[in-house]
């Protein structure tokens, strides 16, 4: 009897599901018909969808921009929050929530006049107390602000004026405040005061979109801020200019699998797909419904252990540098010559202020004979060196394998240690465990922000470097600063503490129907809309 009841139950479930499946089987056809009607209308008047779907590579750890350097977090949060200053397409700091700034004669105080009548998403007006609280928090949470603006302080002058005092006069204060990595979001004072160590929980900014919902491991949903007050009337340029917010809803989906991102943008489920892997480039380039956009993604850099082990000897490092064939490494890592370029500069080659060829004689030498000679002079005797890497970043792993082979060619005994990314990071901090690692990192805006000169990053603790950084920041004119940087970049190559391997482009795929989209340091979607 029980069995019969069970059977009945099972079969009724099956039947229900079947009916559900069949009953709705015709829906896609109906949807198709609806779309056809849409395209008829299109001829008369262009209509746009009121939502935009963006496929990101991962879920951000937080949207608290002052805490994280995670690109997916900053890409999303840039729609919610705004800064005092921001960057235009020429990488120049331009006012956003601030109206103007006045720098004192001695370069120690900056007085910002704030825009009036700007409201937060909770309806409260932005005043100096909010700005002071947000900026002072950023000064102690952002790793760059901590190092480059030590002991700086924001104070309120009156309701719409704030004053920043810095310890030493430098030329890069505004660009630090405007940069995108760990950017200082302006948010209400109450939220800043209540912020726990691992990040704010309420995302209230002044931007063109408001935070609506975060579905764990699925998406972040933002909705248009209908009360948004334009901070600039200029033509959109970089992060500056008008923000029209034509799409009512923004969905940032977390789609880890790249084939899923690609399939999604092909079918129109996603309008923008971030980080397209190189092996899919040709396939998508041949698709008539897809636009492929590329942008200067960053530099692939090899870092040498200058503080411990065999590579403490500068001769050995110079030998390794002589052995590097960068063309070979870049081709293996990025597959298509269109997607990378070779240049010794550590910063974005498009950024005229800092672009320099200094150190070129040590770059891409591809000279095994010289390398062997140097190894012999250093008394190298077959000691094993360790290359640290992670398969989580394909280009880093591939580059490491090519380097291993190139170093074997000059007679070195080379071992590769591969870990998952979190383990890689932790192992990197223990300098007794590695000799070389390769990292692909996005561009920094100024030399002092570079990982290659940061002692925490790969252990480069050198007085010449430290003094050069002070000279760059204290230089009276941009030209003088550039000269100091040229000297430093030349020194980095001569000292062989690291080397740029090459510069790579990031690739983003969008549907052809997308308009008003811009790819700057991040996908800029606040003026983007998709034709129906």
């Amino acid at each position: 009897m029980k069995a019969r009841k069970l059977g009945l139950l099972l079969s009724s479930i099956v039947l229900m599901l079947l009916i559900a499946a069949c009953g709705n089987g015709s829906d896609p056809a109906a949807e198709g018909a609806a779309e056809d009607k849409g395209s008829e209308k299109q001829a008369e008047q262009q209509e746009y969808k009121d939502e935009l779907n963006i496929a990101l590579t991962a879920q951000p750890p937080t949207l608290d921009t002052a805490l994280t350097v995670s690109a997916v977090a900053l890409d999303t949060a840039g729609n919610i929050f705004e800064q005092l200053y921001t960057l235009n397409a020429n990488y120049e700091p331009v006012p956003a929530l601030a109206e103007s700034v006045e720098r004192s004669e001695d370069g120690l105080t900056y007085t910002f006049a704030l825009r009036q009548g700007v409201n937060f998403h909770n309806g409260k007006e932005m005043t100096s107390e909010d700005v002071v609280a947000s900026m002072n928090r950023w000064l102690v949470t952002s790793s760059r602000a901590k190092v480059l603006l030590t002991n700086a302080k924001f104070e309120a002058v009156d309701t719409y004026t704030v004053k920043l005092t810095v310890e030493t006069p430098t030329s890069d204060v505004l660009i630090l405040i405007a940069s995108q990595a760990q950017f200082p979001s302006i948010m209400p004072k109450e939220i800043v005061d209540a912020a726990p160590a691992d990040g704010i929980k309420e995302y209230i900014g002044t931007g063109p979109y408001k935070f609506q919902e975060w579905k764990q491991d699925q998406y972040i949903h933002l909705v248009r801020n209908d009360d948004y007050q334009q901070v600039s009337d200029a033509e959109p340029s970089g992060f500056d200019g008008r923000k029209e917010a034509p799409a009512k809803d923004l969905y940032f989906h977390f789609v880890t699998d790249h084939s899923t991102r690609i399939a999604g943008v092909k079918t129109g489920q996603y309008d923008v797909a971030d980080s397209i892997p190189i092996e899919s480039y040709d396939e998508l380039a041949a698709d008539n419904n897809i636009n492929l956009l590329s942008f200067p993604g960053g530099a692939l850099t090899a870092f040498f252990n200058t503080s411990e082990g065999l590579l403490k000897d500068v001769k050995i490092r110079q030998a390794i540098l002589a052995a590097f064939n960068n063309e070979e490494i870049m081709l293996a890592s990025f597959a298509k010559p269109d997607l990378y370029s070779l240049a010794p500069g550590y910063l974005n080659t498009n950024q005229v202020q800092w672009s320099t060829e200094a150190g070129a004689e040590y770059y891409n030498q591809s000279n095994p004979e010289k390398a062997k000679q140097l190894l012999q002079e250093a008394g190298y005797n077959g000691e094993e060196i360790t290359l640290l890497t992670t398969k989580d970043y394909n280009e880093m792993y591939t580059a490491t394998l090519v380097i291993q082979e190139q170093l074997r060619q000059i007679g070195m005994n080379v071992k590769v240690e591969n870990f998952d990314f979190p383990t890689f990071l932790e192992t990197k901090n223990d300098r007794s465990k590695w000799d070389i690692f390769v990292a692909s990192t996005g561009y920094q805006l100024t030399p002092p922000q570079l990982l290659a000169v940061n002692p925490d990053w790969a252990g480069l603790d050198n007085e010449t470097v430290k003094q050069a950084l002070i000279d760059i920041r204290g230089a009276a004119t941009p030209e003088a600063a550039k000269q100091e940087w040229e000297k430093l970049q030349g020194f980095l190559y001569e000292f062989a503490s690291s080397t740029v391997i090459g510069h790579y482009n990031g690739v983003v795929a969008t549907t052809k129907k997308l308009e008003g989209f811009e790819l700057f340091e991040a996908p800029v979607v606040w003026n983007a809309k998709v034709a129906k």
């Binding site: 896609p28 879920q59 350097v69 491991d217 989906h253 899923t260 399939a263 999604g264 890689f424 940061n454």
Partner: protein, 316 residues
Amino acid sequence: MLAYITKRLLSLIPVLAVVTIAIFLIIHITPGNPAAAILGMEASEEEIQQLNQDLGLDRPILEQYTSWVANVFKGDLGDSIFMKQPVSEAIAEHITPTLSLAILAQVIAILLAIPFGIIAAYKRGSIADYTLMGISLLGMALPSFLLGLFLMLFVGVKLQWLPVAGYEPLSSGLWEHMKYLILPGISLGTIQAALITRMTRSSMLEVLNLNFIKTARSKGLHEMKVLFKHAFRSAFLPILTVIGQTFGTLVTGAVVVEAIFNIPGLGQLILNSIARRDFAVIQGVVLVVTLMYVTINLIIDLLYGAVDPRVRLDRK
């Protein structure tokens, strides 16, 4: 019956103790920590240590374990470091997509497997038998993600009948819910079906040779009645075991298929949490998955008694 259930439940305690201690040790011995995952590649060591301290991850491992166990007994699985929500909440959110997918895949598997298995057994040695067994062998050898990718390309991208990836909860409507699950459901279900088909066939073959089937036939019963009422019912026990086991596998997370189709289920949760070193979530999910696996097995054992009255569980 009650005594049997109690005994089975008590035997759970050592299982869970071993599982939790093992997972706790593995997680904490593995390098990498959640603070680094939150702060990103460029964070300094000092910042990471500060956050570890704030999160209580610098305490001795034994102390962390005992306080975790004590909290579990109070029904508190802790908080996710990365997602900043209680672990129980995170699991509850991620378990519904997995359950929906598992049920759909299981239904597809049963609908395919049982008729095929019976036909193969009944027409033993025929072309139909060989074809079905050949296909099922292929099915067992094919990884579900490969089938999944193929379905995604063909049905999703080429024909555009169904969305390629994503998930909508049941509250958005049955069809909205189902249309995201059909492709992953088929890729999981057909693979499971292969196993169940083979089990059904061999179990049926055994029964079809028994005397009571001959008796039934000689009574002049209709062949369908002989097959389903007499033979299938007796052959069902081993089939049920396989169904139970496959369901256990499905529910505890189809990691790869969930990743391909971007379904925010338990498999995705544990995969992401490992990458994020979100200790509390990993521990919580492992605990819940172990519990579920054991419970499903218990239910299957109890169902034996319901399906076949000859099985008496409490007489040992």
